[in-house]
Amino acid sequence: MTATDYSQVAPQGNIFLPKECKIVNVKQVTELERHFTLKHADGSKVKFEPGQIMEVSLFGFGEIPIGYASSPTRENTFDIVIRTVGRVSGAVNKLNEGDSLFIRGPLGHGFPLEDLRKKDVLIVAGGIGLCPTRSLIQYITDKRSEFKRFILFYGTKDPSQQMFLDDIAKWKKANDVEYHETVDRGDSNWKGNVGVITELFKKTELSADTRVVICGPPIMFRFVVAECEKVGIKYENIYLDLERRMKCGVGKCGHCQINDKYACIDGPVFRYSDLKKLEEAL
């Protein structure tokens, strides 16, 4: 898959000029996170690959890199989830329906759909890692017949951190989604699994030909990759969606470098076999 050359689609060919979007819907999903549904202000269709990112901005506050949290199969709108962390995310999370925000994107390499089709797919999402992988989850459920088994592992610190509760209810009911979840710490109402996300590998049998997509906190990757190795999954069939400080999103500013690669244009999705050569990756 080729990365988007933003200079080809940016307003006036200027890679720092964003496009205006309108907020169609907004929901508070956890204490810190809000889920926005957006449309392009000019009414144009939304085109991107699952796993690609955008720079979300508000003038006067700045820009932050955010993954698409919905599938491009739903082309009229797209979703993002913003966790209140700093100046920009704090300001975005005060916006309401009808307000404008600005995006530059799509940027970078997404998930390799052509490598996932006709294969068993396992997605391992930890915490807020569910947001960018939701672009792929929705894509697979929208085009379910193109893929074989679809297994989804979701882990959070505690039940209050779970997002997309409506989606989870659907995945639990669906016959063609094998959904497993866990929390690091339960509460009095929690009746499900308690433990780290790697515990979920005990819940199902995986074939060695499974394609695995992993997104979560940096600490999680190593342990999940180790579980994949036990099943005999090859490194080139494991895809990691990495977090870095993707400040400009267009491979210029230098902040997201992983050795000689840029998370923003060479990733954020990488094959594990490629990351093995990059000492700074994991």
Partner: protein, 343 residues
């Protein structure tokens, strides 16, 4: 394109006339040192400089550059396409500009750099005095000479030879009493530029390809990097003065009315502690290059190995500015690389 000659007597009039027609940026004295600044008459121009404090990158990537201006939800770009004549650039700085040209052009083309760069004319000049910390004589090979300039000026007895390489270079000839240079003058200029290559007192001990391989293979030698970076203040001076460092941060600024403002990019430094840090929310953060050793290593990797294949040369041009700027005097690539080659 032709080589031209001008007498020393006529040279000043050429510079003055050129600077009346177009904005000329060239080497000037600043106390005991030199800087690139606007040249308004020939007596400002100091072609006998050894090295300038900052490289001429500041012309095309200013320390603060406005990318977007906004007023409420309205916004527009701020592309600067006013060309200048960048005059009197030593070959190592031409190579630095050539490297940043490539990096701003590849993948996502950045007009905020390229518009001004492509509208500008670059005139090189021979090195009349060699700075103490420079080591450009031992970097690269003869086939990786400077590129991207429009003309090259060489001072010799009685005058200057101007070798024009592009039409933009040729267009400068009209400002002065230039005549066709003789074959003897051209070969004299070549000799002057060749002879200076042996004049650096500092030298890398190995070829660029040997260095690239050894440095890359030293990545996991944690002890080496933490020792090399032990005295590092994480100040980023080495990045600031480097002709091929162009990393930047982007920040928004309000005007006093809190409605309009600008989105600016500022020089940033990978040696500073926060450069690769991300906040994860709820008070947690991740610093992907947390230690001084890791940051120091990244700079050396970037200069000596990562970009070599793409550029055809290392991303270090041997100007020695980082060596001179480093407070702890640990940044000198000659010391660092020669030490790594001995490990």
């Amino acid at each position: 394109m032709n080589p031209y000659f001008i007498t020393a007597n006529d040279f000043d009039a050429f510079v003055t006339k050129m600077s009346k027609d177009k904005k000329v940026i060239g080497p000037k004295a600043k106390k005991q040192k030199f800087v690139f600044g606007e040249i308004k008459s020939a007596d400002h121009l100091r072609l006998d400089y050894d090295v300038t404090i900052l490289p001429p990158k500041k012309v095309f990537t200013p320390t603060c550059q406005t990318l977007v201006t906004f007023d409420g939800d309205k916004f527009e770009g701020n592309v600067d396409n006013d060309g200048v004549i960048l005059f009197g650039v030593h070959f190592y700085d031409i190579r630095g500009i050539d490297i940043t040209d490539l990096l701003f052009r590849e993948n996502n083309r950045d007009v905020n750099y390229l518009a001004k760069r492509e509208a500008s004319t670059i005139v090189g000049s021979n090195i009349q005095n060699v700075s103490k910390r420079s080591f450009w004589g031992s970097i690269g090979t003869s086939d990786s000479g400077p590129k991207g300039h429009d003309a090259f000026l060489t001072k010799m007895d009685g005058g200057y030879v101007l070798e024009c390489l592009t039409q933009k270079g040729e267009d400068l000839v009209k400002f002065g009493n230039w005549s066709k240079a003789s074959a003897a003058q051209v070969s004299e200029a070549e000799k002057i530029n060749k002879d200076v290559m042996d004049k650096c007192s500092q030298k890398l001990s190995h070829s660029s390809s040997e260095i690239a391989e050894k440095v890359r293979n030293s990545f996991d030698n944690q002890e080496l990097w933490s020792n090399l970076a032990e005295d590092c203040f994480s100040c980023g001076s080495c990045n600031t003065v480097c002709p091929t460092c162009y990393c930047f941060d982007v920040q928004d600024k309000w005007n006093l009315n809190q409605v309009s403002g600008m989105r600016n990019r500022y020089w940033d430094s990978c040696l500073t502690e926060d450069f690769a840090k991300v906040s994860l929310g709820a008070g947690s953060e991740e610093n992907f290059r947390e230690t001084r050793g890791e940051r120091f290593r990244h700079r050396i990797m970037r200069k000596a190995t990562y970009l070599n294949e793409k550029l055809g040369t290392p991303a270090c041009v041997g100007c020695g500015r980082c060596s001179a700027a480093c407070t702890a005097d640990i940044a000198d690539p000659v010391n660092v690389i020669n030490k790594i080659m001995e490990v």
